[in-house]
């Protein structure tokens, strides 16, 4: 049956994609000046055909729950490093950060650095312990010695909230981007992305999801390298020359920073609260993202887990340096070129198109097609990982361990996880369409705030603090979750930008400093005052857990002969 579905899915996608040929003509609206991009469509179809082939191959190897959730634990450190960096290099970070450099220069670099520095800390403090304790989800680790029902439920909701917010942001971004790049109607783009990701995850599980991510990471890194080399080539490989021309180009620019101000920090972070809070959100948020954490269970042991982070940090850092060059290249090569500008002088399709236009300026139509296809592939790969993380939270945490209290056979759990994948696919398509015209700028920030304030503190203290109890983790984690949501709602991104109020009740866009502190203090307070029977069990179990954390003795899939 699975084979028929795959073939059906491939046809549906081909059909939907080729539908452009018929509808392209009527799409010449105000925003889409983009003509039909044949090269992009051909290359995207090649990518889809290749990844469906991988899914077919992976489907034959995905038999057990361990295969489905963790690709059988057989991914190597280098492969996993590429997959992790692929999860991190979303279309939003590729297009968004190069756009930020394009409009604000140096500020783009500040953002990149914040996103990167969480990784070393994850390696030093979290990666190995996570690998040694966990099985399929980060809730396995958080609830290792605590009462299953409350902690799994809290972690699963934390995971689902993060995943769904992220999914909406990605789906809306996908629809808008594909509309621009391929001339496809918005809804059709969202449906194609939703159908493909459901196919990858349902049939190919983690193995297919990982390989889709690896292929895309390699394509994206190569494409971005090519653009950056093209930029440097046009300045005779002289940074001095590139920056000088960028300064001269922006002297009288409107809607972006101008002249020498692009070479120094602007207004991105300008007070101590935002500075600390943004840092905490990015660092602890990364360490609480379920789709990233689950990647640590796909490698054989702690050694491979470490190598994964080493490679991932290298690839992500390299990628951010490329986006910096790409942004500056775009300032010089496209910001004054009428071919890429609207009548008002802005970029066609908005500033997020900077990297895309630049690829055309450097490599012509064929290369534009390649980069557009890579951007589409990027979205697909990232939403697939998110969907798998969400499905595991439903099937492994909520169904198998909370609802069935661990008494469930593999076949049932697999069935539920596939059903959950399809349901998440439908939800993602539905919300993607519903949020088309909404302001979704707050969603990724909120996802990071929840990951940092609810997921991370419980996970971290469960591994590091012997006195943690179930009550402390549940109440403290819950308080962190609540604080994060409330502060985002009454902050500038929702209270002012969406609800239209004059002034925000909470003045900062970054609530993490307060919500993370609340979570840690809450967990501490409700743990030390906990004298219940359960608390004694929780504390007594720390010693054995810590030995497994430190050595991997007894760890899932580890070799202990």
């Amino acid at each position: 049956m699975s084979r028929n579905f795959l073939i059906w899915g491939a046809f549906a996608t081909l059909f939907a994609a080729t539908g452009v040929f018929a509808t392209g003509g009527v799409l010449d609206g105000a925003i889409e000046k983009q003509s039909l991009n044949v090269a992009a469509i051909v290359m995207f179809l090649l990518f889809v055909a290749g990844t469906l082939g991988i899914t077919y191959w992976a489907a034959k190897r995905t038999k057990t729950a361990k295969d489905f959730y963790t690709a059988g634990g057989g991914i190597t450190g280098l492969q996993n490093g590429l997959a992790i960096s692929g999860d991190y290099m979303s279309a939003a970070s590729f297009l968004g950060i190069s756009a930020l450099v394009y409009t604000s220069g140096y500020d783009g670099l500040i953002y990149s650095i914040g996103f990167l520095v969480g990784w070393p800390v994850i390696l030093f403090l979290i990666a190995e312990r996570l690998r040694n304790l966990g099985k399929y989800t980060f809730a396995d680790v958080a609830s290792y010695r605590l009462a299953q029902t409350p902690i799994r439920t809290l972690s699963a909701f934390g995971a689902l909230a993060t995943v769904i917010l992220y999914l909406i942001a990605q789906m809306v971004g996908a629809g808008q981007l594909i509309q621009l790049l391929f001339g496809l109607p918005y809804w059709m783009a969202v449906v194609i992305v939703g159908v493909l990701m459901t196919l990858y995850v349902t049939f190919g599980g983690m193995l297919a999801t990982t390989w889709v991510q690896i292929i895309k990471a390699v394509l994206l890194l190569s494409g971005a390298t090519f653009i950056a080399l093209g930029v440097l080539y046009s300045f005779d490989f002289s940074f001095e020359k590139m920056f000088t021309e960028a300064i001269n180009t922006t002297r009288d620019a409107k809607g972006m920073m101008s002249g020498e101000t692009i070479m120094a920090p602007g207004g991105l972070v300008n007070n101590w609260f935002d500075a600390i809070s943004l840092g905490i959100a990015l660092m602890f948020g990364t360490a609480g993202l379920p789709h990233i954490l689950m990647r640590f269970f796909t490698v054989a042991d702690a050694k491979e887990a470490r190598k994964s982070v080493f490679f991932a940090t290298g690839f992500i850092g390299y990628f951010y340096i490329l986006t910096f060059i790409i942004g500056f290249g775009a300032i010089v090569l496209i910001s004054k070129n009428p071919e890429y500008l609207t009548a008002e002088g802005g970029l066609l399709g908005g500033n997020n198109m900077a990297a895309i236009h630049l690829s055309h300026a450097i490599g012509g139509n064929i290369f534009l097609g390649f980069i557009s296809a890579v951007a589409f592939a990027t979205i697909l790969a990232v939403v697939s990982g998110l969907t798998l993380a969400g499905a595991s939270a439903v099937s492994h945490d909520l169904y198998a361990n909370v609802f069935k209290r661990g008494e469930v056979n593999e076949a049932q759990e697999m069935k539920i996880s596939k059903m959950a994948t399809v349901v998440l696919g439908v939800i993602a398509i539905g919300l993607g369409i519903a949020f088309e015209k909404q302001n979704i700028a707050f969603m990724v920030g909120l996802a990071f705030a929840i990951a940092a304030s609810a997921n991370f503190p419980v996970l971290f203290l469960s591994m590091y603090w012997s006195k943690l109890t179930t009550r402390g983790a549940f109440l403290g984690g819950g308080l962190g979750l609540l604080t994060a949501i409330v502060l985002v709602v009454i902050g500038p991104t929702i209270w002012v930008a969406i609800l239209g109020n004059e002034e925000a009740i909470f003045g900062s866009k970054y609530p993490a400093l307060i919500s993370v502190t609340t979570a840690f203090v809450g967990i501490w307070f409700f743990s030390i005052t906990d004298n219940s029977k359960r608390a004694q069990i929780d504390r007594a179990a720390f010693e054995a857990q810590d030995i497994r954390c430190q050595t991997g003795i007894g760890a899932e899939g580890a070799v202990t002969h």
Binding site: W119, F124, A264, G279, R306, I321, T551
Partner: protein, 102 residues
């Protein structure tokens, strides 16, 4: 894990050495990374003009740019240092501990 085994490993001097050496190393590296990052972001919050100083007379490049690139490289180098020591020294100790409980 049975209590017997837990006690045996816990009292193994090699286990104690592994835990204390690795914890110290991991925390030191984490603190180095945090200090680097927060120094950077605090300079941006309080004294952004510091990063606007030119790297040389007549150049347009500000010191903020090489500093930013160096921070990216430092993150990579720090992970490399940790992985190098952990995959050698710490894994050897872990292996010996596992041999000891056979």
């Amino acid at each position: 894990m049975q209590q017997e085994l837990v006690d045996k490993i816990k009292n193994d001097p090699k286990y104690q050495a592994l835990v204390s050496k690795r914890s110290r190393f991991a925390w030191i590296l984490s603190i180095i990374m945090l200090v680097i990052y927060y120094t950077f972001i605090m300079v941006i919050a309080f004294s952004p003009q510091t990063f606007a100083i030119k790297i040389a007379e007549g150049s347009v490049i500000t010191i903020g740019i090489p500093i930013g690139i160096l921070i990216i490289i430092s993150a990579f180098v720090l992970t490399g240092i940790y992985v190098w020591r952990a995959n050698g020294e710490f894994d050897n100790l872990t292996h010996q501990i596992k041999e000891g409980i056979k």
